[in-house]
Symmetry: C2
Subunit: 151 residues, 2 copies
Amino acid sequence: MPKPKTLHASPEAVEHAFYEAMEHADLDAFMLLWSDDEEIVCIPPNGPRIVGHHAIREVWGNILSRGPIHARPSQIQVVQGPMVSVHSLIAQIIVNDDEGQTIVVNLNVTNIFIKGPQGWRLILHHASNAPQEEIGTDRRSGYSPPPNILH
Amino acid sequence: MPKPKTLHASPEAVEHAFYEAMEHADLDAFMLLWSDDEEIVCIPPNGPRIVGHHAIREVWGNILSRGPIHARPSQIQVVQGPMVSVHSLIAQIIVNDDEGQTIVVNLNVTNIFIKGPQGWRLILHHASNAPQEEIGTDRRSGYSPPPNILH
């Protein structure tokens, strides 16, 4: 039987539940956080854009089948309107490298939430690789793509 | 003398002007498209998150000093509210590789616009590398970062 949807009272509650669902590799809980809108968008790091419930469920079923994802949201910046909330944050993903060492990988994340009859829900999640030392206004950043993706 | 700000009647007009400013490497025009909010956020591909007018101007001054950026916005998806508009798109960046060949690099882009007294303006731009063949629901995507960023 499908789980009932929780009515989330704030974007922060949805975001917390989002990372909790990753922590528990709980695909059903993860999917319940999304808006019913068919145009929901999810962009994993280096991945193609994924649109709609069916495709997001398929891709995340695959991702979470590999096990839990340990993520620490940090440096959250919020632009809050009455019906929409935009969160920009650094997600620190704790992973094991090839040699079994635990390392932290920084991702830049944009999460967008909208408020509907069922409370706050996610409509867009965009995650991408960030420099390993997040230093805010580092001038190394540029619009030119790195050489490794050109060939 | 600083240019007067244009009152943009739609998010689409701001987005068009955004890519026009890149096309002309026009930093002043580029900066005028952003909201006055000090919490504006810009994330270039692989770059650190940049917050605020001063930092964005500094980084983009550096980027645009290298010359124009030729970008073709495509596959634009819009979630539109009365005061906020969320655009997800694939930006095709036309660049020359090391051998002088013209190639197209796909970026996943999230642009967020808000409506204020001065019309629609940008509050967040998040761009990241997308696969070179954008295929929507490709299952290759994953949350695990690629090995090249782990070391």
